[in-house]
Amino acid sequence: MLKFLTKRLIQTIPVLIGVTILTFSMVLLIPGDPAQIMAGESASPEQLELVRERLGLNDPIPVQYLDYIGGVVRGDLGNSIRSGRAVSTEVFGRLAPTVELAFYSTLLSVFIGIIAGVVSAVRRYSISDTLIMFAALFGLSMPNFWLGLMLIQWFVIGTGWFQASGWGTPQQMILPVLTLGTAGSAIIARMTRSSMLEVIDQDYIQTARAKGVSERVVIYRHALKNAMVPVVTVVGLQFGSLLGGAVLTETVFAINGLGRLIINAIRARDFPIVQGGVLVFAFLFVFVNIIVDVLYRFLNKRIDLN
């Protein structure tokens, strides 16, 4: 296991290099000039030239890339083109809400999703199965902002129990977590259901039944663990994509998170921020995926990760 972990951590490096290269190529591909955006729309050509020179934008791309990597190795992610602040300050300053939001929402969606999925599978084709499917599909088909705004309407304006914007207190955190968690639980529920159905008429489930253990134990202890691999994959993806920025939800609830930062940076062609953000994402992602792989192994000892 230790070997596996070290190996995977080492593999982070090529991933990080990969994303930085990809981001740099985007700079080449997409229109929009950071110098222009920084210097303002009305800057004179001479001014632009100066800005480009100062930002090193005139160097050949490989040189810029190496400069950048050199900086990263020294722990310097550069400065935002738009605000001039250090990228690390901007990015890490927003990491906490994003990670917290992702974490709590995933927790919630795992909780709701698995229970709903199990109920759905156990009572296949019953009313509750159908209702859960409807709810899940509705949750998926309506964009996140919809639920977010509805929750604000009901629980902020309607009852005054919660706060609509910001992040930190429970009053601020519950609604966004609910918004994201509900959406996430939809897919987890569906995945759990189908995966459970695969497992539920296996012989060893009969054995468990023959032992006389309660149906709850049969389902949650025997069947569920065997059905978890696809579910864990989806949860990992879910968590990852939330880390990658739940932009719509962050926007609706005015949460000062990474997702919004990156989107704004992309729109402003603030590439140092984008680079920094993507690097952090990549790192988190690799990390989440390591956890997922370790969980695979935990769930099923036959899975050989090496």
């Binding site: 985007m26 499917m133 964009p143 008429d201 992602f285």
Partner: protein, 300 residues
């Protein structure tokens, strides 16, 4: 080469003249029919396709005709689903937008699934450095902001509908890859895979015949659900100039349009939302049925 060698006296009993491939398919269909949900799902999908194809000829209004004297009207006899903020008839727009929405949702999922599952299964099956390379590459893709990728696609290929489909498909490749890899890791350790390997089956054969059928159900679930997310993602990219552009009545775009009117005219958001639900529901019901039909143990 040695087919004439007869091991024992056992007389060949195959008297029926049939093509086993056809039988296999018929068999599948038989089960499929017996399965109510598959049938309902199939009928729904068929109905959707028919409506998408011929519906536009029968709508009460043109989808883009504006009427500024009748904005945001709630559903009524005259306007079944009400009108939007340009006074357009939402019912007609829903019908007209169906084919484009279905196309975006279905095609992008199909492409993403094909590529993703291929990569995921190869990765999970072979493991070792193949797994490392493919999965780290998927990590890169996942970590990379989709918008940036979409921007690049627009810059290089332009903003056509096909390109939005490609972009959305690219986003879903790592999702399918990870799901199919996870399940493959499990299946490849099972004894029957070992048994087939001992018969000398090629890896390709094992993957196609033995791994894939046994990892289908999470893939089916992901695919049927992804139709909804793809429609939403695709319309989320329209601000980059990708895909459906106004006034095309693409559902995801209609849904987003309603955002400013959620309080005075909630139906503008709800109706396309429900329309998407219905499409996704059809595919999900169908997917459930497909799963059951593929499962030899569930026969009713």
């Amino acid at each position: 080469m040695q087919e004439e060698v007869n091991l024992n006296s056992g007389d060949p009993t195959g008297k029926q003249q049939f093509n086993p491939n056809v039988v296999r398919f018929q068999d599948f269909m038989k089960k499929f029919y017996r399965n109510k949900s598959a049938l309902i799902g199939g009928i729904l999908i068929l109905a959707l396709i028919i409506v998408a194809l011929v519906g536009p000829y029968f709508t009460p209004y043109a989808p883009n005709t504006q009427n500024y004297s009748n904005l945001l009207a709630p559903p009524s006899v005259e306007h079944l689903f009400g009108t939007d903020h340009h006074g357009r008839d939402i019912f007609s727009r829903i019908i007209h937008g169906m084919s484009i929405t279905l196309r975006v949702g279905f095609t992008s999922v199909f492409i993403g699934m094909t590529v993703g599952v291929t990569l995921g299964v190869i990765s999970g099956y072979y493991g070792k450095w193949v797994d490392t390379i493919i999965m780290r590459f998927m990590d890169v893709l996942l970590a990379f902001p989709g918008i940036l990728l979409a921007l690049a696609v627009v810059a290089v290929l332009g903003g056509s509908l096909n390109n939005v489909i490609i972009s959305v498909a690219i986003f879903s490749v790592p999702v399918f890859a990870r799901i199919s890899r996870g399940s493959t890791l499990e299946v490849r350790e099972l004894e029957y895979v070992e048994a087939v390997r001992s018969l000398g089956a090629s890896d390709f054969r094992i993957i196609i015949r033995h791994v894939l059928p046994n990892i289908m159900s999470p893939i089916i679930v992901q695919a049927t659900l992804n139709i909804a997310t793809s429609v939403l993602t695709a319309s989320g990219l329209s601000f980059l100039g990708m895909g459906a552009q106004p006034p095309d009545p693409e559902w995801g775009a209609m849904l987003n349009d309603g955002r400013n009117y959620m309080w005075n005219a909630p139906h503008i958001t709800m109706i396309p939302g429900i329309a998407i639900v219905i499409v996704v529901l059809s595919f999900n019901v169908f997917g459930d049925g497909l799963r059951d039909a593929l499962d030899p143990k569930s026969r009713n």
